[in-house]
């Protein structure tokens, strides 16, 4: 227990942890500022303005249609054969006023019920990145600077030490993720109240949001564990960060291009972000636009593949088992230099 408390202290004392956490929170703060600045509440004034904008747009459409009809008639009278005009110039007619809806011209507004899930994905993504690098640095720097060796001279049970460090890291990240999630919900609610609407929230919706938030927290912990395990395997922070960059550049961008060139069916199913997004949104439907599943009306629909959060959970579990298991195994087997 003393080691656990000490490692928590070490985690909190590390500048890298503080800077990365502050950096992540700063990005989230910028998102909040952006949301606040680009959204506004919809009231009678906004509706009136939108209606006026729709009127202006309709008038412009009418003017344009008349100009085009006149051009068409002139072209027909001159005997010109202009393909893009219809045979009968009278067919060029402006849209009816009711076809141009005023709500199209409403300013952007924050609808808590509709927008919060995407914002939870944003929160989870940023915190997962913070978790990954903080996790990697927490153990990588210890290996690199000899701190791990010093600690093992005090606590010779290697696996206990590594798992206690991981426990401290996950506890710290859990505290960060939970408090950030609560704050995030609160801030989004305030933005909804001040710059949109919070209507339509039922207990079912709240439950769904909470489950999404919980999955986000799990994602952060998985990312922290993988970063920690990779850095422990390579005994250097750079191992995890280099690995992450390699995966993103070669494994994702490169693979995406390759899959596209090879016209692989549901190529996104091979890409990691797909599973992260599916984890957060419960289901992600991939579509193959090169296929045609005809409906009874004759409509041609693309074939689909559902990636669910269960698929993602299997992937995450396998990743954690392989990387963390590898880190534990090598710590047990390898000498401490």
């Amino acid at each position: 227990m003393s080691l656990f408390r000490t490692e928590l202290r070490r985690l909190a004392k590390r500048r890298f942890t503080r800077w990365m956490t502050a950096g992540g929170l700063l990005i989230l703060a910028l998102v909040v500022v952006g949301l606040f600045a680009t959204n506004e509440k919809i009231g009678p004034e906004q509706w009136a303005e939108a209606t006026r904008a729709a009127d202006r747009s309709h008038a412009e459409q009418v003017r344009w249609a008349e100009q085009e009809r006149a051009s068409c008639e002139r072209a027909k009278a001159a005997g010109e054969d202009v393909e893009y005009y219809p045979a009968d110039c009278a067919e060029i007619a402006p849209p009816a006023r009711e076809d141009i809806q005023a709500e199209w011209y409403l300013p952007s507004t924050f609808i808590f019920k509709a927008n919060a899930p995407d914002m939870l994905v944003t929160l989870a993504g940023i915190l997962a990145m913070v978790g990954f690098v903080v996790g990697a640095s927490f153990i990588g720097a210890e290996w690199n600077t000899g701190g791990m060796m010093n600690l093992l001279l005090w606590r010779p049970k290697r696996l206990n030490v590594l798992l206690t460090k991981l426990g401290a890291l996950l506890t710290g990240m859990l505290a960060l993720a939970l408090s950030a999630s609560v704050a995030w919900f609160g801030i989004l609610w305030l933005i909804g109240s001040w710059r949109g609407t919070t209507e339509g929230m039922t207990s079912g919706v709240w439950q769904s949001f909470l489950l999404t938030g919980l999955r986000g927290v799990v994602l952060v912990l998985v990312a922290a564990t993988v970063g920690f395990a990779l850095a422990s395997l390579g005994r250097h922070t750079a191992m995890a960060l280099g690995g992450a960059i390699a995966v993103m550049v070669v494994g994702q961008a490169g693979l995406a291009i390759l899959l596209d060139l090879a016209q692989v069916r549901f190529g996104e199913a091979w890409l990691l972000p797909t599973y992260v997004y599916a984890w957060m949104t419960k289901t992600l439907t991939l579509e193959d636009w090169r296929s045609c599943n005809a409906s009874y009306t004759g409509e041609c629909n693309p074939a689909t593949l559902d990636i669910t959060w269960q698929h993602s959970s299997i992937l995450f579990t396998v990743a954690v088992v392989i990387f963390l298991g590898g880190a534990l195994w090598t710590l047990r087997r390898r000498d401490i230099a």
């Binding site: 003393s2 070490r10 600077t145 001279l153």
Partner: protein
């Protein structure tokens, strides 16, 4: 290698001979191929978790997280080892870092890091203290302080194992030594005994009359001694009991005015035992030292550093 409780034991060997590897293995950082080790009467590495609290160690160059202060570094170690936090200030005072304890370790000189390493080893107030090159990077005053510190610790009952290349220090501080070469022990025992064993039993003999030296040399040579004649004295090697020389010469009517054992220092014994003495014009390679496994000693092919 055996270290008695309460003594200061020097652990010596040329570069690459296996000193640090031995200490790392003893402390459970390296897996051993075989053999048996025990610390404080308990077999290691199996018993390390039980005895780690009683063993303080620094292994090779001191390494610490550069962005923490010395106080933070020690405080975290104390926390991990369930040592009272007040001990941190005690050891900082002991190694002379009290006034610089709040500065980041990355601003420390090598000597200051070395002091911090010793402080970290002392934090547990261990029964056994293992110091690998503790004087590395220390200034002359620091070396003397380290010597005093080690002696005081030994007097307080702490057992100290000291690995160092500063053989003069080892000779001054240590009660006993182990010298290894290429992973094998070449000498072991109390410092005085090791020096005596490897002094070659040499004595310097002076006579009342210098002109009698050739006669004395013949007499000693005839009795199986190896004698080297010098201008005003004889050097006699392989002498177990110097009194026999006095008696032998007196029987010949030759009277000894001086009979002094030739003293050797640890450095010369070390160089002799490990066969690492520099040879002018030659460059000794790191692994060229005495091999104690039945094979012929690997003769140095060069002088190496200082040649």
């Amino acid at each position: 290698m055996r270290v008695e409780a309460g003594e200061v034991h020097g652990f010596l060997g040329p570069n690459g001979s296996g000193k640090t590897t031995t200490l790392r293995t003893l402390l459970g950082l390296i897996r051993s191929d075989g053999g048996r080790m025990s610390i404080l009467g308990q077999e290691v590495p199996a018993a390390l978790p039980q005895i780690a609290r009683q063993v303080g160690a620094i292994v090779e160059s001191p390494q610490f997280f550069p962005h923490f202060s010395a106080r933070d570094t020690l405080s975290l170690l104390a926390g991990a080892g369930e040592v009272p936090q007040q001990r941190v200030d005690e050891v900082l005072e002991l190694v002379g870092l009290r006034d610089r304890a709040g500065e980041r370790v990355k601003t420390y000189s090598l000597g200051m890091k070395q002091r911090l390493a010793v402080a970290s080893a002392l934090l547990k107030n261990p029964k056994l203290l293992i110091l690998d090159e503790p004087a590395n990077g220390l200034d002359p005053g620091g070396i003397r302080e380290m010597r005093t510190l080690v002696r005081n610790l030994a007097e307080s009952g702490m057992t100290v194992v000291l690995s160092s290349h500063i053989l003069g220090e080892i000779q001054l501080i240590c009660d006993s030594v182990t010298i290894i070469s290429l992973g094998r022990r070449v000498a072991y025992g109390p410092v005085d005994e090791v020096l005596a064993q490897h002094s070659g039993g040499g004595v310097r003999v002076r006579l009342e009359a210098v002109m009698d030296l050739p006669l004395a040399a013949n007499a000693l040579h005839g009795n199986g001694y190896r004698v080297t004649a010098n201008q005003d004295h004889l050097m006699v090697a392989g002498v177990d009991k110097p009194a026999t020389i006095t008696r032998l010469l007196a029987e010949q009517g030759l009277y000894v005015s001086e009979l002094a054992p030739v003293t050797v220092d640890l450095e010369s014994v070390f160089l002799e035992l490990t066969n690492t003495a520099p040879v002018p014009g030659q460059h000794r390679q790191v692994d060229q030292s005495v091999r104690v496994d039945g094979a012929a000693p690997s003769a140095p092919t060069g002088g190496g550093w200082g040649a």
